[in-house]
């Protein structure tokens, strides 16, 4: 089983900080309205929780390109294991957000025709790895071309 690049924790950590910041501002406004001092301090609670979550999430995240399917294991509160048979892959993207570019990371997103298709994405890969994975998945999808998906 392959693991993600450890730098992915930083992208998650940054999003935790952004959430905390937004929450802090919102709480500060509410606190001002209700005349409760320092309500925004509550937002600081999010930070340790979120950071722990990010670390655990990194530890849980695993994926493998099996013989017939892409297999993912992830999730902290709810553990999720997903198998995406190659026959079912409609198309594959690599994506790089601004933060990911900054950290030198990329994600691979796999689309199926299923009703929960787009949630199959692998974050925190090195760009070369993401590129290679995308091509590998594409080739496997073509090789295993079977009956029309829908």
């Amino acid at each position: 089983m392959e693991r993600l690049d450890s730098r992915v924790r930083y992208t998650w950590a940054v999003s935790v900080l952004v959430v905390a910041l937004v929450l802090g501002v919102a709480l500060a406004l509410v606190g001002g309205f209700l005349q409760v001092d320092r309500l925004w301090l509550l937002a600081l609670l999010v930070v340790p929780l979120g950071l722990t979550h990010a670390v655990l999430r990194y530890r849980r995240w695993r994926f493998a390109v099996d013989e017939d399917a892409l297999y993912l294991e992830r999730g902290v509160v709810t553990e999720v294991e997903t198998s995406v048979p190659f026959v079912r892959v409609q198309h594959v993207d690599t994506q790089r957000g601004p933060l990911e570019r900054l950290l030198g990371l990329a994600s691979v997103v796999v689309y199926t025709a299923g009703s929960r298709g787009a949630d199959v994405s692998i974050p925190g890969l090195r760009p070369e790895r993401a590129e290679a994975l995308r091509q590998q998945l594409r080739d496997l999808a073509i090789d295993s071309e079977g009956e029309d998906a829908v």
């Binding site: 999730g75 709810t78 294991e81 048979p85 929960r116 079977g146 009956e147 829908v150």
Partner: protein, 514 residues
Amino acid sequence: VKLHPLTAVRDALLYGVQAGSFGFFASAMGGMTEMVPMRAAFVLAPLGFALGAAYGVARYTAFEYELGETTLAIRSGVFQRQAREIPLGRVQNVDVEQSLLQRLLGLAEVRFETAGGGATEGKLSMVDVDDADRLQADLRQRRRAARQGGADGEASEPEPSVLYELSLGDLLVLAGVSFRWGVVPLTLFSYPFVDDLLVGLFRRYVVEAMLGGTLSPSDPRLLGVGLALLAGYATLAWLLSAAVTVLQYYGFRLARLDDQLVYERGLVQRYSGTIPLEKVQSVAVEENAAMRRLGYAALTVETAGYAQGGGGGDGGERSPSAIPLADRGTVLGLVAAIEGVENVAVDRPPERARRRYAGRYALVVAGLAAALAAVHLLVRPLGVLWALPVVALAGALPGAHLKWANRGYHAGDRHFLARTGFWRRSTRVVPYYRLQTVVTERTVFQRRWGLASVVGDTAASSTLLSRSATAHDLDDREADALHDRLREGLVADLIDRRTVGRRSRVERLRDGEG
């Protein structure tokens, strides 16, 4: 080919009135703020109407469709021109709808659904009803030709064979046992009715007695009045729901025509649809508590045609009913014919799942009790309401049992069966080769009990209401085994279908009639 000319009239009126009333209100607003004189309404409203009507006519002239040998081509749009081609092999459901007025004028609306896109992909509104029939027949014929490898126009149109008809008696049962939540907002709109019956009575006997001082606000009789009001409202809503059901499902008929299921229904508004058997993703046996009691069941057939939450036309229906209500045997017979599954029996989750549900419900009750206690102590005494958590607790244990007893799964030779729900029990039958992804989920709470859920996702149009086939709360190891089984089943079944060419649904149905 153009749409029916009356479409131009309808669109002209529709957009004319829209734009006209916009002009009217705009000038009325302007008049109030004294920015434009009120008189402007006499100019702006007709001007708006004229512009809107012109747009409506332009829409009609811009719209053109053509059913070719391999594609359905549609050109549309006044300002933003659009040309669309739908390969016929990709068409999923084809629905024809006729409102009362359209029936009187011999018109119909035809909708072609594909698995792509959000809204209905090909909507022909309106065409002559004969054209609608011809479109469907042509589509069938072209599909047949494509299947037989281009031998064009030879095969004659086969006769439809009726698989099922909803009798009047069954229709009334259906109306009685099914409740449509859609009527709840309707009851609020039918305010005068509700006002007279319920609010009127309430005002007369309760409010006046209170004002007269003969009834105090803490009188326990008020609880009775409240319950009676609730019961009255529920009866009203139920009657309304029954009426809607009768209107919708009157004259329901399901037939097989070539490689398609064809159904029609409706008393005032006629509705008919086709489901190509080769496009069926999964079928589901639906039985609510009352139907199970009476030995009835319903069958829905899922394709990937309907977009999320859209589609289906009236009643916000997601996947069309193949059978809205019939005795269980008939329904299972059709499941056997469509999917080749004789038995829809499932294995229940392990016993500890039941304890989990009981614990969960008990927690909810405890929360309710705590909330009530807080109100009682901090806000005001609640009187007899303390009995509420006790009643709820009495319901928690049977509730947990029923939830557990109505869940289960079965992994057969070619199909995955998953059942859930007490009030509305649904047993989904998914052929392995229709699976898209397989997902195992373990929440924090499930992990405590060593349980897991396995989801077999298909390309069927999913909605919030109908989740994909899920085997809930299996033993951890069993879940892993099922996950692998589904994955292997998909691959094996696909290879099998490619090499051997299995007996198709169409053949099974044909033989079944034999």
